[in-house]
Amino acid sequence: MQSDNQNVDRIDVSYVAHLARLHLDKEEIESFQGQLEETLDYVRKISELDVEGIEPTAHAVSVQNVFRADEERPGLNREQVLENSPAHNEEQILVPKIIE
């Protein structure tokens, strides 16, 4: 971060929105651009700290390898799952054609 400050300084909102699968209109891109740059300017203050040798924290209370017995148990049935889908038939969720 110290060495590549030039690259870090500007977020390309329309490109990142594409990565996040969000269609933004022109006005949104413009207003988000300024707001997000301001937020990024602020959060970059964490670069002031020396974190050499500090382990990252992913979860505050770390638990690893939580296993349960591999036994069959009831879950939601197909009707319950399909019920919430915006487009479905009796057996499956319908989506637009993926392969031409």
Partner: protein, 484 residues
Amino acid sequence: MSLEIENLDLQAAVELLEGGSCSSEELVHALLSRITARDSSLCAYLSVDGDASLRQARDADKARASGSTAPLLGIPLAVKDVINVSGDSCHCASKILEGYVSPYDATVIGRLRDAGAVFVGRTNMDEFAMGSSTENSAFGVTRNPCSIDHVPGGSSGGSAAAVAGGEAVAALGSDTGGSIRQPASFCGCVGLKPSYGRVSRYGLTAFASSLDQIGPMTRTVRDAAALLEVMAGHDERDSSSINMAVPGYSSCLGEDLRGMKLGLPKEYFVAGTDSEVDNAVRAAVEECSKLGAEIVEISLPHTDYAVATYYIIATAEASANLARFDGVRYGHRAEGVINPIDMYGKTRAQGFGAEVKRRIILGTYVLSSGYHDAYYLRAQKVRTLIRQDFEKVFEDCDALLTPVTPTPAYRIGEKVDDPLRMYLGDVFTVPANLAGICGLSVPCGVSSDGLPIGLQVLGPAFKEENILRVGHAYELARANSKNG
């Protein structure tokens, strides 16, 4: 009988029901009338199902007649719109989940249901719990019951307004960076964020999975203890929940604080905090000292980096969690799309509000190739430093006393176009989530404008009994000094 439902706390409601002086049906009926009369001005609820709640109440009355002594039998609760209740909508105050009906109960709902609770309605919130004012709801702005021109705080603003406004005996909220404690402080009720892993997150729609917790919002600290007792405990459906015995929180409460050592973090008593807030919190500290606690000044040196760290980690996790809202399995789907990629982009554009979009973009950016190490990884390391700050002071202190927020509630519209300014208001609440410790917000004063001020009590991880003890003794002393 005439039931003053707007002044009824949970314990009093339990006593009324157990003593037979009113039925759950009467209680719920009175509550529904109150909601009908009041909620058009507060907008605390997104939906209330009167018939279903009366049905649950009648079932509770029948169970009591057959000898049931479940601890919350017939008690009506309000639920934040982010927690799944089987057969109810769960929209997370977002258009993208319109039409969604939960096919299952969250674990906390199942536990409360088994304890006899009745679920009355769903409370308003910032969309997907992202915000500090409940102005980011897709379904209307909730108002502060103490002053309807002011925000109730957020994201659990609907739950706080319902409890403080006499439209709920108690409610559930969720807290990712202060979303229980801050609205409790703004509205003048009690809010508890449990330690990470204390309460199951199964059935809570995820915002930031390493920070989220469900907690109670109540009229009194005793009520929060009573609810937490039922809600807490290990759940194999949430592998981050910890398998550790749950203390009887209600029996840990007492009238004094003798033998307790309470720390005042100097980084939480700084210029920039409203002087009325500062004065009210210092007076509360003095009261705790009179109750027998030893007060010591301590330091949490990385406090100033908490908001920056939080907004990197929380948005990164949110961008991943909210990827599931793609128009395929539930909720809204855009029409007139040409392929799945087009469907995702348009569905999400139509379904999400501005703040959710900003956070998804920020979170995607800090995780993206070339920026991950500088933002996300570095923030996780700073999170370690913040966690260690707390671990160190809790070697010596039983709990810490701080303000909940730098100011009382602000006016509706005042910060809505300035996200960074809104984020900076979370300065005293986000560190607890990053460190995984527990925190309680208790009313400790009222500003000259009539707006509530909250005292935050922070405790070590899995020591909810400490903060409940401090909060309860302080609350009693404050009530006595007001009456005396």
